[in-house]
Amino acid sequence: MDFNLPGEDDPRRIKVRKWFEENPNPTYAQLAKQGWTASNWPEPWGVGADAEMQWIIDEEIVRAGLELPYTINAIALNQCGQSLLNYGTEAQRQKFLPGALACEEIWCMLFSEPSGGSDLGALRTTARREGDHYVVNGHKIWTSVADHASVGVLVARTDASKPKHSGLSMFLIDMKSPGVTVNPIIDMTGNKNEYNEVFLDNVKVPADALLGQEGEGWKLTMEQLQTERVGMTKPGVVWGMGPTARDLMNGLIETGRIRDPLLRDEAAKLYIEGEILRLLTYRNMTSRINGTPAGFEGSAGKMLSSPHGQRMADLAKRSQGVSGMIRNPDVLPLPEKKWGMFSNWDYAYWFSPANTLGVGTQEVLLNVVAERVLGLPRESDPTAKVPFSEISNTSAKAAKQVRQ
């Protein structure tokens, strides 16, 4: 057991740092050429870095003053890109990955729909095969970065005669295709749109944009969401990103607000929770180094981190008193402004109701932990086993039944 992270004198670090010294102000394309924009991927895309090596490379990228590639192009480099390694054709890899790794092609994830939400498998967007292409129709929502993405990872229904999870397929679509319309959604923060809705109106998608097999869409989707959630175990305020309880504690100490005995006790609780999340990321890093499967932190990290982030944002906000009710007053300092839009407790606070909604509601995550980790009985879903095309009847019947 060893909780020390690779130090300044680590030979691996020295080597990486040397490259940055020799290549000041590198482009992401240059980084990609080094295999460092997705360093954990196998060559030629990455360098097959283990978790410590990836940690070093990431730290050196930040040290060089660059934003991390997988925050710029998260869908490609974190959530979805690896599916191409496992399920894509060589042609797909050659077509899509170089631009993604260079952060020149931004990807987005066309999953959620207005009618869906937690019940993602009930999605209604259809992809109808017509000769050498598919025709896609539907309405996606909560799509981050859709307004500047060039590639969309789409889940659509290719066979409505199958049960809802079995008739889905995944595609990589060109967001510039005719019929794709992107509208921004302003959320309750009132800030620049974080999300968009995407209308797909008879969009023609070439047949070779199908990722994996027809009907494999649900499996790929679940793997990608799982990857996304693992990343959310981190102790940052919103989905693992942004300032942590350490930063909150520093701010409270610096302003003297820590002397309020009630805030003080709460801040200590949050600090401890934050350290636990930090430890779980270390455990995850260890599993990755050792090549052992992710443990509890894989399925449950977000269950812990989402409400933790909410409580942090809430305490940060309350510590500011009535002044905190004015937009962007920044009464509580965050000395390091390194978290982009989250470098501000005000934004983090008003955004935080989404913590327990996005990428699985808290209720869904609790179910996942209860069922997969603890082995408790699965929820019954009366719509899971009938053909999707018959669900509306089943649903109505079930709804009627429970209403009795």
Binding site: S118, I141, I185, T361
Partner: protein, 370 residues
């Protein structure tokens, strides 16, 4: 013992309900960049003042309706339920300050103007939001024809639309109350970027502004007025909890996931059942506080602090839960859920956090025990 509303109370509530349902329209606020004036903040007021709501508890001798605080919460419950944007809070605050700090002559001169639609505001907090800081507050200096005030107040509700502003100011190591014309020379009013866009909250700078002293000023004025403002906020919050609950329940019956209305899932059911308890508790506490202030019961200040602490905290929980039940759509600007969330959040800070009212509760009980 009779813990039930009278028919008169219910009639008043029902007619207020009808009025706000017809008059209040929050939809203009559901566009990004909107502020309080977009939702008929000024227009609504002329009708409200015609109904006499701003003078509802003002004694008849001063031209008011002379009704009880129970009547008041019937109305405030309805404006709170609909987040009715209008300068009612500021005007009530100002009127109570005059009632508490004015001489008979001042009350006779000022309060009857409420019937003509006069709007008021009360400036008590200093720039940091503190109600008891003796160092940083506005200062009053005697002048030829009265006093002049200089300094900065903040978190002044409805100041930018007020005709007159009551200002607490330091003079001879005490705080007295003064009245100034809102458009007097030397006043600069800035509307704050208050997160609750259904309410107007301002910062007021005074630079040698001539003022009239309210002649019955004393250290009892603020506690007396504050208890009543607690009641107003608590009544808003209690009604808001009920609304957040009802909306969430309605949505949970309609929205289908996994083949069932989401309200069939225990996680949702139990959250909403707990909110139902909070709604009932807040309602009971508000009515009790209204009764005890009306009766000048010795526990009135205790009841008001309890009501504000409990209702504002539960309102926060209710509006949070409401958004969770709606899911991501409830988090968008185009839905009204966030307006309630922000009202709740701001109600829990405007007169001090819930913990500060709990401190008042314990002090009251300690004094009683001593």
């Amino acid at each position: 013992m009779n813990f039930a509303l009278s028919e008169d109370h219910e009639f008043l509530r029902d007619s207020a309900s009808k009025f706000v349902d017809e008059q209040v329209d929050l939809s203009p606020l559901l566009r990004p960049g909107a502020d309080v004036t977009d939702a008929g903040y000024d227009q609504l007021w002329s009708r409200i003042s015609e109904l006499g709501w701003s003078a509802i508890t003002v004694p008849e001798v001063y031209g008011g309706l002379g009704m009880s605080y129970i009547d008041l919460v019937m109305i405030v419950g309805e404006t709170g339920r609909t987040l009715a944007p209008c300068p009612l809070f500021g005007t009530l605050a100002g009127a109570w300050s005059i009632e508490a700090a004015g001489s008979e002559a001042q009350k006779m001169a000022l309060l009857p103007k409420l019937a003509e639609g006069m709007t008021l505001a009360l400036a008590v907090a200093d720039e940091s939001g503190s109600y008891d800081n003796m160092a940083t507050d506005v200062h009053a200096t005697p002048s030829a024809d009265g006093y002049v005030l200089s300094g900065t107040k903040s978190f002044v509700v409805d100041a930018a639309s007020a005709d007159k502003i009551i200002v607490s100011a330091l003079i001879d190591d005490r705080k007295d109350y003064f009245i100034v014309d809102a458009n007097a020379a030397g006043i600069a009013i800035e509307i704050l970027q208050w997160r609750d866009i259904t309410r107007q909250v301002c910062r007021v700078e005074l630079d040698n502004v001539s003022a009239e002293r309210l002649e019955a000023s004393s250290e009892n004025v603020w506690p007396w007025v504050r208890d009543r403002l607690y009641l107003v906020l608590a009544a808003e919050s209690a009604a808001g909890i009920r609304t957040a609950l009802n909306d969430a329940v309605a949505y949970a019956k309609e929205r289908i996931a996994f083949g069932k209305p989401i309200g069939a899932f225990q996680a949702i059911k139990h959250q909403l059942a707990n909110l139902a308890g909070a709604a009932e508790g807040a309602n009971a506490m508000v009515q009790y506080a209204a009764w005890s202030l009306s009766e000048n019961d010795e526990r009135g200040p205790l009841a008001a602090a309890m009501a504000q602490s409990y209702a504002s905290e539960q309102y926060r929980e209710a509006t949070h839960r409401n958004i969770q039940v709606f899911g991501a759509i409830g988090f968008t600007w185009e839905m009204k859920n966030h307006l309630y969330y922000k009202r709740a959040r701001c109600n829990a800070e405007l007169l001090g956090a819930p913990a500060s009212q709990r401190e008042q509760v314990v002090r009251f009980l300690e004094e009683q025990a001593a």
